[in-house]
Structures are given as C-alpha cells and as structure tokens.
Symmetry: D2
C-alpha cells in the first residue's frame, strides 16, 4: 500500500499523514497502531523537512509505501518521497492551503461540540438503563442483570 | 433490619421477597448478593409453606430480620414469621391479591418494552460515538481514544 | 364495554378509574377524552360515595358499562355499581389495599425519575440533530432541512 | 458584510458560496433565506463564468459584498469580483483543489451516516417518551400530557 498526503501545508503534514493513514487502514489496523505508526513516520519526515529547509508555509506532498504485517504497519523509508513547493514560487497554492487549514479548524470545532453532545447522550442512555434496572428489581419479576 | 413482604398471594411470595429486599438494600448491597440471599430465603420459606399446607391462592405475610455483614445478607431464621390467610376464610383478600398479580404482569410487559427501547438507544449512542471517532480520525486533529 | 376498578381503597378510586380506562381504551380514544370521561365519572362516583357514607380507608369496587361513540366515552350511569367493604369488617383487605397504595407511590417516584431522563434524552437528541445540520450547512453539499 | 469563497474549483463554487454564507450568517438569517440568497447569487455567478469562459477544472475566487435587511440578504452585484486561475497556468493549485473536493466527498459520506444514526436516535427517544406516557397513564397518578 502507499500513503499519499496530497498537497498540504508543511505546518500540518503530521495531522494529514495520520488522517490519511486512518482512512486507508480503516477496519484493518488497530487505531493504537495507526497512531503509533503515524507518529513514527512523522518523526522521520520531520527530520527530512529540517534537512530540506522547508518552512511552515511551504506546501509539500509526501508519498511512502508501507506494508501491514500481523497488524503492524511497516514503512518503506527507502522509497519515501517528499515534494516541496516553496511559498515564494507557488504563492497561490500556499494561500489556498492556508485557507484549507482555517476551514479544517472550523470543522474541528463543530465536531468537538458534536462529540460533547454524544458523550452526554451516552451518559443519559446509561442512566436510563440503570433506572430501568432499579424499576425491574423493585417492581417486577423480570430477569435482572445480576442473574446474567 | 427486617424484611416484611406485606400481604401477598402465596404463588408470588418469592418475587415479592426479592423486590422488597432490593428496595430495602438499594445502594448498600451488590445486586448479585441480593439475588443470592433472596434465593436462599425463598428456598427456606418454600419448605415452611409446604409444612403449613399453604395453597397458591392463599394469602401470606412474611417477616424476617436480617443483618448485612461485609456486604453479605444473613437471615435470622429463628425469628422468621409466616402468617397465613386461607382463601376460604379471607375470600375478598384473596381476590384482591389475585388482581394485584394481574396488574403487575401488565406493568412488567410495559417495562420490558421500555427496556428494549433503552437497549436500542444504547446501541445507537454507541454507533454515534463510533462514527464520530471515525470522523475525528480521518478529518480532524482532535484527540483520539487511541491516544487516551 | 365495562370498566371495573377491582378492589381499591376509597381514597384512590379516582386514579384507579382513570388508569383502568386508559388501559381499556388504549389506541381507541384520544387521551384528552379519557381524562375528561374519567373526570366526569369520578365526580359522579364522588357524590355516590358521600351518600353511602364511605370512608377513605374503606375498600370499594366499582363497575360501570360504557360505550364509545365518535371517539367519545358515554357512561351508562343507570348500571353503575359500587360495592363497599368497610374497614371494620374487612380489616385485612383494607390493610392490604393500603400497602398497595404505598407501593404505587414508590413506583411513581421511579417512573418520574425515568421521565426526567427521557426528557433530557430528547433534548440531547435534538441538539445533536441541530449541530449536525450546522455541520451540513457549513461543510457539505448535503440536502438541508431548509431545502425540504 | 462580504462573502469570500477563497480558492475553489469552478465545479464546486455554488456549494462553496452556500457554505460560506451559512457560516457568515449563522444565527442571523433564516436558513431558508440563506438557501434562497445563495441560489440567487449562484445563478448570477454562473452567467458570469460562462462569459469568462471558465472551465470546471479552473480555480476561481469570488468576493461580493452584501447587506442583511429585515432578515433578507441583498447582494451588491456591482462590486462582485471573480478571479480566475486557469488550470494550464496554475497547475498545482488546480490539482490541490481537486484533492480538496475528493476529501470533502468523503467527509459528506460520513456526516450522512452520522445523520442517519441521529434520526434513529430521535425516533427511539420519541418511542421511549411514548411508552413512558403509556406507563404513566395505566400505572400511575402522575400528570399526563393530556392534562397539559
């Protein structure tokens, strides 16, 4: 398999790597391993970007082959490629990528709010089941959890 | 402490013992222990009812002291009392208790339906959180469960 | 059709009439009409109980035929029957009915708590849908409610 | 106020206009009016793009001032600006914008699935409240909706 970040502002490459890796491996790899593997690759890329003198506002594009063995992601660092588009040369591209970053932050904000509501929902659901169990215990002969 | 079933049809004493015990010990004793202790007492009462020649449609009233030690319910069988009201002598009482049993069955039916809905609710809540996690993984930089 | 309250403490006849009427007419009559018809009948019974010198702790049993016409409940007052069991004569019955009343209050308390949770649930569900609509409006091309 | 689409593929300008307008006017304008106003502006832009010979894969950037009066959005068409970046000249930009479109489709798919779950949730919540009302009607003296 091959991970390709597409165009991304250098400032946001690490998140992009992780997201793409999650999308590529959904259902195939444990999320903890995705987080670990993305972290490992990102560290490697970080060093390369330093060597290449890439700046935050430059746009880059990274591709790297990988394999999944026994649920573990192994990067083929030999074949890692990093394309760099300097802001000074690809001004419009750099501006567009900056806009994308802004928009993603707005999306994150909303998803975060949604998540808080979903956690409230879970809590309420659990309280309802708890209260129903109490009702069953004290007012019915229905099978209880404790009878499992 | 003292468990008192109140008036109850002999046919339903076991459930009544358990319900009353749950209500009396709520928050103090593990539900599994309540189930166990009720079962133990009910077995004891069952034998006594046999000895007393009690019939299903007779009405009885049971009281028994108990203690809770280290989360365990201990029955004071020495002081167990069973009053028996023969249907032939307390006809109206027996009829009233039969009605109560009917009504409780209707209540149980409705609570059961409510529980099924609450289980659906729990499942949907979990799916929503799951789907949100996926959204976070693939489209945001928000903290993931796998980063716990 | 015929409404029969079964044995009930005189103090609680009105609620019992309403509950039984709800159970008998579920899905056939509008809840508002059930409330109205129960109120009308209860007023009528109230006067009769006064005439009969019934006391709160006596036990009574009421039966009354009725018809449903065009969604309206009509009581056949001619054939209303009220049986009265004086506490002094049916002591055990009166005591049993008092116990039932107590237990119903405990049940009510728990159902009330459950209802509060269910209302919270509804509110959270609505907020989730609202937030999702916002997400759709600002981050997708999905069909919106406003496009109905 | 001023709507600015940022860089966007010509193929997707209409959705972008609407999203940005929703984000800008959240809480200030009725969603139906947002949909209407976006539709009106998009029609206008559509004609301009035709005149300018813009192709789907070109990248454009639109800005237009507007006012909100009595809850209605009025476009200042006189000051509408459309910048066009031909794919042939800004190749990397065009490719990046195409990627963004792809990613947005994936996001939409997931939000759609989330919405289906949220609608299920709503339905289950309503069924729970319905069932509880039934329980209250037939087993309690609690205040009913029909008594509202």
């Amino acid at each position: 398999m091959r991970l390709s970040t597409g165009f991304v502002r250098a400032s946001g490459y690490a998140h992009k790597v992780r997201r793409v890796l999650f999308a590529l491996t959904r259902g195939k790899v444990d999320p903890k391993e995705v987080v670990r593997a993305a972290g490992e690759l990102n560290q490697h890329i970080f060093e390369k970007l330093g060597e290449l003198g890439v700046e935050k506002s430059d746009v880059i594009r990274i591709t790297v082959p990988f394999t999944i063995e026994d649920g573990k992601i192994e990067w083929d660092y030999e074949n890692l490629k990093i394309e760099v588009y300097k802001k000074s040369e690809e001004e419009k591209l750099a501006m567009a990528m900056e806009e994308i970053e802004e928009r993603e932050k707005a999306l994150e904000e909303q998803i975060k709010e949604l998540e808080e509501l979903a956690l409230q929902l879970k809590e309420t659901s659990e309280k309802i089941l708890e209260k129903l169990e109490e009702l069953k215990q004290e007012h019915t002969s229905l099978k209880l959890r404790a009878e499992g």
